[in-house]
């Protein structure tokens, strides 16, 4: 018998899941996170550090939140004002959740959808953040080997959340910049057919609306056509609406909950919403995820599965109190949208002045930046090269489109809501310096490349023509995790 090496023995002792890399964190994109981790920007202590623009967090309204918490000590079960509830809350582990929590969350979901629909608190099922919600929905709706259709580009974390422990496949629905990355019926049908040919039974379509990474919202007609598509095929429609309240300007968010009211023969057993307070309220640390299903059986089963990721009762209590304060909630949503709009405008105005394109969109905590004309060749290798320059030389951690499974190289997701105004100014200044250096380079007479030339200069040229050539079988690396596992506590 062949003796196994110690490592191989180890691998055999553990599950394939633990020994494999289905978690998706072995990707090259970790360079960006590492670069930030090793040298994080600070306006005073580290003015040359890497600015984190890869983290989709809403940090613009923390002051409002903090103020409310300080003014409402009864919302905590630890303060003198709230401790009389301590023992009741501390023993509460019923997976139905605190009724007042569910009611408050249902109300909040209604407000963030402009009160156009009603949500039933009895359909609210808790989960460990939207991360837990997605995995739970996948466990409920699909068997190992089944597939979900997902429009590209999509949130890199889906590769882990939907696939890792469930064994479910993701089948991309390719969207193109030529029509603003809108989801077309042709693309859906093509993806459905691809799955069929690959022997992957399709169980559902997962959309993120508003979109991550695009920041766009789906219009009513598009949503209706998606509902009709899934209804006709008899497959599920899962709508991740985690960015529901991040619309600003004239953008309107239309929830799938609204649209199903307008599709009379819609089979509601196929409709499910994933939600969370991590983006709209800026509370990712509290792990408040929600599965909202119109299918009674799914509600039942997801609720049983929620035992694996219940929301801490201490947090349920706080959130119940906070979200029941309707004046606070209305004010919070209003101010949050204004601040998002302002920060978005700051970034996009800056990019406009530098001639850098971005996808027109009115939601989310990021923009989808177009750097296709900076690619040496229209390939993902070139995108990676450019990305490394942006991370290591320009010192901005942004997310390359390839990590989001974008079909076309050259797009980058750039977050804007996780920094203050001064940091944004600094980031824009760095981009300005970078682009002007590139212009200078392109105007110089061509010289043979010397070894002394900095690598970033040799890998770039400004192209004034659209000479994109799409390589077939482009390399699409695994996606990095949505938040850096390398982020150490600052607390």
């Amino acid at each position: 018998m062949v003796a196994l090496t110690a490592e191989k023995q180890d691998q055999n002792l553990l599950s394939r899941m633990a020994a494999g890399d289905g978690h998706g964190e072995n990707s090259a994109y970790f360079d960006g996170w590492k670069a930030y981790e090793e040298n994080p920007f600070h306006p005073i202590d580290r003015p040359d550090g890497v600015i984190q623009m890869g983290l989709a967090e809403n940090q613009l309204c923390g002051d409002l939140m903090r103020k409310w918490v300080l003014e409402h000590p009864e919302a905590s079960i630890c303060t003198a004002e709230g401790v009389n509830q301590f023992s009741d809350i501390a023993i509460f582990q019923d997976y139905h959740g605190l009724p007042e929590f569910r009611q408050a969350v249902a109300k909040f979901m209604e407000k963030t959808r402009n009160n156009k629909v009603k949500f039933d608190p009895d359909r609210i099922v808790m989960s460990g953040g939207a991360t837990g919600a997605h995995e739970t929905v996948a466990f409920c709706l699909a068997n190992p080997g089944d597939g979900f259709l997902v429009p590209t580009p999509y949130y890199p974390g889906f590769d882990r959340d939907l696939r890792w422990r469930t064994g479910v496949n993701l089948v991309p629905v390719t969207c193109h910049s030529s029509n603003g990355f809108k989801i077309t019926i042709e693309a859906l049908e093509a993806a459905y057919e691809n799955a069929r040919v690959s022997n992957i039974p399709v169980k559902g379509l997962l959309i993120t609306n508003p979109s991550n990474p695009l920041g766009t919202t789906l219009d009513r007609d598009c949503l209706k056509s998606l509902v009709n598509f899934t209804n006709d095929k008899g497959i599920h429609l899962i709508a991740d609406e985690i960015y529901a309240a991040t619309t600003f300007g004239e953008s309107e968010f239309i929830s799938v909950a609204e649209v199903i009211e307008e599709v009379p023969d819609c089979n509601r057993d196929l409709i499910h919403i994933v939600y969370s307070l991590s983006k709209d309220m800026g509370l990712p640390g509290l792990r408040v995820g929600i599965v909202y299903s119109y299918n009674d059986r799914v509600v039942q089963i997801a609720r049983k599965m929620s035992s694996f990721g219940l929301v801490s009762s201490q947090t349920q209590h706080l959130i119940a109190k906070m979200l029941s304060d309707e004046d606070f909630v209305d004010e919070f949503i209003r101010k949050s949208k204004l601040r998002l709009a302002a920060r978005h405008a700051e970034l996009t105005t800056g990019l406009d002045s530098l001639g850098i394109g971005w996808l027109k969109a009115g939601a989310g905590l990021f923009i989808w930046m177009d750097l296709r004309n900076l690619l040496k060749t229209a390939t993902f290798d070139s995108e990676m090269e450019l990305w490394r320059v942006i991370v290591h030389k320009v010192k901005l951690n942004v997310s390359p489109g390839g990590s989001c499974h974008c079909h076309e190289p050259g797009w980058f997701r750039v977050c804007f809501a996780n920094m203050d105004h001064k940091t944004m100014e600094t980031a824009l200044e760095r981009i300005r310096v970078f682009t002007s250096q590139l212009e200078e380079e392109s105007l110089k007479p061509t010289k043979p490349m010397s070894k002394k030339k900095k690598c970033w200069q040799s890998s770039l040229r400004l192209s004034f023509q659209d000479t994109r050539r799409f390589e077939e079988g482009f390399f699409s690396p695994h996606s990095p995790v949505p938040h850096s596992p390398l982020v150490r506590a600052q607390i």
Binding site: L14, R66, G285, K304, G309, S312, V481
Partner: protein, 469 residues
């Protein structure tokens, strides 16, 4: 093609078992000393409600922690954003220290080997995902916590093969029982990946002996498999022989830093020792870096709320508090346990001699009409419907001998316990269950038929309460 997954339509979640009938009845008719004095008393809930006042008192003396402040500044904002799956360092440090304290500081725990999870429920499932492929098996000594059927098997596809323990030796785990279980798994063509024990045991309330731990370590060493020790009740040991953690035995046998030590994993939680099940605080401790790494990534599906991590890091870092708490909690548990035991004795009912846990393993074999599980369920239904006590039948814990019941004592006031014990005494002193009249037998039969059909109907349409331990 089915609309839902197989996992959604099967019943491996285990929540359709007869065990839940008692829960349902309690929910419909819960005891309240004033409002509903004839209601059902909940004795199926392994919760520790005896020591909240100690925590509340700590909170009143520590307003900074209570108010999410540090040095006068609110840190709510930082907490709100903190979602690093490595967890709050101060919390992990405090947890590692607390675990050591629970073991008399005879072993120390490295915070870097700790993984935070949403309760022990999630910790156990996560370990299964890390150690077993679908179809692999873990050996578990019976009787065991009914929730394991869901936690270890449901979404993981793993199997459980029982290690049969009997009252002949106080349900201790023997070498031969281990071997038999392993052989049984082979017969079923199941690859055994490890053994999982609960120490102190649920439902027995006993600590695992050094001899048993030695057998277990030898066994897993020879078979090259894992050993998971769920030590969730480690802080509830209230009298001798005292708690011995598998980590201590590893140390004694000088097996630290060996291959075997990498296959020993501990699960812990604050749900029982501190009585905080609502906060969802679970922990995996492993000496295997790959397991720690994989489990940490998997914890993304159930992180502990940062708000809760912060509060508990402050609480557990206060050594004065933890030392006093552990001591006082044990004193209270011991007293309450003694009350239950003497109350049962007065009713002529014995229980397994125990030194830990929040329950007793009660011997009602002499009250069975026959030595069968049917008779056990008959007796159990009587206790639920007539005596109005919700207790847990041994069959729900996969006990292989009928007649044993788990009865909890730490989730109610002393007065309620008295009422419960009176009811039981009256029931036992009444007509003997071994000389039932014909009419009584008929009555029971029709009671059973009616309740079972109602139960089946209800189970299809209603949710169940989550299982407690």
């Amino acid at each position: 093609m089915g609309l839902l997954s197989r996992k959604a339509t099967c019943n491996t979640h285990g929540q359709d078992s007869s065990y839940f009938l008692g829960w349902e009845e309690y929910e419909k008719n819960p005891y309240d000393d004033i409002k509903n004095p004839d209601g059902i008393i909940q004795m199926g809930l392994a919760e520790n409600q005896l020591s909240f006042d100690l925590i509340e008192s700590w909170l009143s003396k520590n307003p900074e922690a209570a108010n999410f402040e540090r040095e006068g500044q609110s840190i709510f904002r930082e907490l709100a954003l903190f979602q690093d799956y490595h967890g709050l360092p101060s919390f992990k440090n405090a947890m590692a220290d607390f675990m050591s304290e629970n073991r008399g500081n005879r072993v120390s725990f490295d915070p870097k080997k700790l993984v935070l999870t949403a309760g022990a429920t999630s910790a156990n499932e996560t370990l299964m995902f890390c150690l077993a492929d679908a179809g692999d098996a873990f050996l578990l000594p019976t009787p065991y916590y009914p929730g394991f059927d869901r936690d270890l098997k449901w979404r993981t596809g793993a199997e459980i093969v029982p290690i049969q323990c009997t009252s002949a030796n106080g349900f201790q785990i023997t070498k031969s029982a281990l071997e038999e279980a392993y052989e049984q798994a082979q017969k079923l063509h199941l690859k055994v990946k490890g053994v999982l024990i609960t120490n102190p045991s649920n439902p027995l309330g006993t600590t695992t002996t050094r001899t048993e731990l030695n057998h277990l370590l030898d066994f897993v060493s020879r078979k090259n498999i894992h050993l998971i020790s769920d030590e969730i009740y480690s802080g509830t040991v209230f009298t001798s022989p005292g708690f011995i953690s598998v980590m201590e035995v590893l140390k004694e046998k000088k097996l630290e830093n060996t291959d075997v030590s990498k296959r020993v994993h501990i699960v812990y939680s604050l749900s029982k020792d501190l009585g905080l099940p609502g906060f969802r605080v679970g922990v995996i401790y492993s000496n295997d870096d790959i397991v720690v790494d994989a489990a940490t990534k998997m914890s993304s599906f159930g992180l502990i709320s940062s708000q809760t991590q912060y509060l508990l890091s402050a609480l557990l870092s206060d050594k004065n508090f933890t030392q006093n708490y552990l001591k006082e909690n044990q004193i209270r548990l011991k007293k309450r346990h003694a009350k239950l035991v003497s109350g049962l004795e007065a009713a002529g009912v014995e229980c397994l001699k125990s030194n830990a846990g929040l329950f007793c393993w009660v011997d009602m074999r002499h009250l069975l009409s026959s030595n069968t599980f049917e008779a056990e369920i008959e007796l159990w239904k009587k206790i639920v419907y007539e005596v109005k006590l919700n207790i847990s039948p041994g069959s729900s814990c996969h006990c292989n001998e009928p007649g044993w019941f788990r009865v909890c004592f730490a989730n109610m006031s002393e007065e309620t316990l008295k009422v419960a014990l009176n009811r039981l005494k009256m029931f036992v002193d009444g007509p003997s269950s071994t000389s039932r009249s014909q009419s009584e037998h008929q009555r029971l039969k029709s009671l059973r038929k009616m309740k079972v059909s109602n139960w089946v109907f209800r189970l299809s349409f209603q949710d169940r309460e989550p299982e407690e331990r």
